[in-house]
């Protein structure tokens, strides 16, 4: 039983936790800056870039993916600008057009590309492959201290661990900057904070987190973790630090319960199949949000 857990659930759970916590922490600031859907947009827009990077390099290495995603994001910004300029329509309308088109293009590329060499399809893009991230070298708890066995952990783990460290480090160092530009941009600017730069930094961190998470867990869970845990936490407290801490708690809870439940949730209905772990994590985070929307202490605006 324990060995089974280590082999099949330990790595997915750890990877899921790092991703969920990373996205949730950033989500707090996106939510307060009324940019929660930025995470949604990112995961839509970067899909064609990621697919092309896969197709061209034939691997899921981090750098080609990041570069592909970055190029796709830059192209989207250019498209939006062009549409706003020449179509004379509002930026939000232009964004809507570009985001959905880019995502559609990504799906199209997925379907057209030769998936024999590239392990990627629509299913994978949406739900990731959390279940496939198994640790075959695990032979009991001793493996946790065995360098040889540890080297057999899925490489995705190190990638998401690095992004987790980057994001938490940046949030700690730039906490005051993020709070200041989120609460009062004009004051921040007058005090010498480069609002545009800090804002771009926050968006870039979100993009890095979304892209790094994408391969392992798919875009559904990324979107869910950016929005649901912070929104759940916001309804329960009026203190920012408490809110961030609670969002981490809810993100972790969603991952742990989601992964465990994905194996058993269909049992009562007579099926022995597992459901998608990523999908289940998203469902749990949604249930938590619904609960706090109904029972949360601060669910109503104060004034």
């Amino acid at each position: 039983m324990l060995d089974d857990f280590l082999m099949f659930s330990f790595a997915p759970m750890l990877i899921g936790l790092f991703i969920a916590i990373t996205c949730a922490i950033l989500g707090n600031f996106l939510l307060l800056r009324k940019q929660a859907l930025v995470s949604d947009s990112i995961s839509h827009v970067v899909l064609p870039g990621i697919v092309l990077a896969f197709v061209v390099t034939g691997s899921a290495a981090t750098w080609p993916m990041m570069i592909g995603a970055g190029v796709a994001a830059l192209l989207s910004v250019a498209f939006i600008e062009v549409i706003v300029r020449f179509g004379r329509i509002e930026p939000s309308a232009a964004m809507g057009v570009v985001f959905t088109s880019m995502f559609a293009l990504g799906v199209l590329l997925l379907e057209l590309s030769d998936t024999r060499n590239v392990h990627l399809d629509v299913q994978h893009a949406l739900y990731g492959s959390l279940e496939s991230l198994i640790w075959l070298d695990a032979v009991g708890w001793r493996s946790l201290l065995d360098p040889v066995a540890l080297a057999g952990l899925p490489h995705e783990l190190w990638r998401v661990l690095a992004v987790f460290a980057l994001v938490t480090g940046a949030i700690i160092v730039f906490w005051r900057h993020f709070v200041l530009i989120s609460f009062d941009e004009t004051f921040a600017a007058s005090a010498g904070v480069h609002v545009g730069l800090v804002s771009i930094f926050l968006i870039s961190l979100s993009a890095i987190a979304a892209v790094a998470a994408f391969d392992a867990v798919g875009s559904i869970i990324v979107i869910a973790m950016f929005v649901c845990p912070p929104a759940t936490a916001r309804l329960l407290t009026n203190r920012l630090k408490t809110q961030v801490a609670l969002s981490v708690l809810f993100a972790s809870l969603s991952v742990i319960v989601g992964i465990l439940a994905s194996g058993y949730v269909l049992r009562p209905f007579g099926y022995t199949d597992s459901v998608s772990a990523a999908g289940m994590i998203a469902v749990i985070s949604g249930i938590l949000l619904a609960a706090s929307a109904v029972f949360g202490k601060h669910r109503l605006a104060v004034n």
């Binding site: 005051r176 609460f183 009062d184 004009t186 010498g192 203190r239 809110q243 004034n303």
Partner: protein
């Protein structure tokens, strides 16, 4: 009369040939005025006259098309830590999950740098500022629970914590209760008596003479600027607002 030292004689703020435009629509043009040292100055003008825009240009938030702005004889970025800017109260989301003391503490953020820690000394400053604006009992409240007047006091407390020499306030009396207005005026006059210079965007012509000693009339361009005693005339109000308001002043 003794001779003033050069720093006292030269204006604290000098705006010279300022023009600002949004998407090629000019908002203000050829704005020139000086704010003398130790003044309590009102920027007066109708809605859309460019009062807030001018203030934002002074603190380098609003890009300017033309013009120079000198503060203490320097550019803004050199004397940033001697200036406190209080934006319009309505410009922030008061549902933000922070407490009153958190907001006031933001006034010390600029001096802390990237890794500087918040020390008891900083909290003492916060508490002192809250006391000066009469908000001591509200330190731990979430800001969404405050009235408009209380919100404005919190903003003023944040400015006090900055320990500036020049205070720039955008509509500090907009939508506040009478008690708050009185309290804010008292704090500002107190600052003035300590040699600080104050500039506030103001709306209410009836209180200009009671609160301010210097005035800048603006409507896209400067109509008049100088001491209230000399420049606060019917003619200038007339030129700034049109006849209707001028006749109201006669009634008062």
């Amino acid at each position: 009369m003794t001779e003033l030292t050069s720093t006292e004689k030269s204006p604290v703020l000098r705006v010279n040939g300022l023009s600002v435009s949004y998407n090629s629509d000019p908002v203000v043009y050829s704005v020139n005025f000086d704010i003398p040292h130790g003044a309590m100055s009102a920027i007066i003008g109708p809605n859309g006259a460019g009062k807030s825009t001018t203030l934002k240009a002074v603190v380098d938030i609003q890009p300017r098309l033309t013009g120079q702005i000198e503060i203490f004889g320097q550019t803004y970025d050199k004397v940033r830590n001697r200036i406190s800017y209080v934006p319009q109260r309505a410009s922030v989301d008061w549902d933000f999950p922070v407490t009153v003391q958190d907001v006031v503490l933001m006034g010390v953020y600029p001096t802390l740098g990237l890794l500087g820690r918040v020390r008891p000394m900083h909290w003492a400053k916060v508490m002192e500022a809250l006391e000066r604006v009469g908000m001591t009992g509200f330190a731990d409240r979430q800001i969404g629970q405050l009235s408009g007047g209380q919100q404005q006091r919190v903003f003023l407390a944040r400015a006090l914590v900055q320990d500036a020499d020049l205070y720039l306030l955008d509509e500090p009396f907009a939508g506040v209760d009478a008690a708050t207005e009185k309290a804010i005026v008292k704090v500002l006059k107190d600052l003035q008596s300590k040699g600080k210079t104050i500039v506030a965007v103001h709306h209410d012509l009836t209180t200009v003479e009671a609160y301010f000693d210097h005035i800048v009339f603006i409507n896209r361009s400067i109509v008049a600027a100088g001491s209230v005693a000399r420049e606060f005339t019917e003619e200038h109000i007339n030129q700034t607002y049109g006849r209707l308001v001028a006749s109201q002043k006669q009634v008062i």
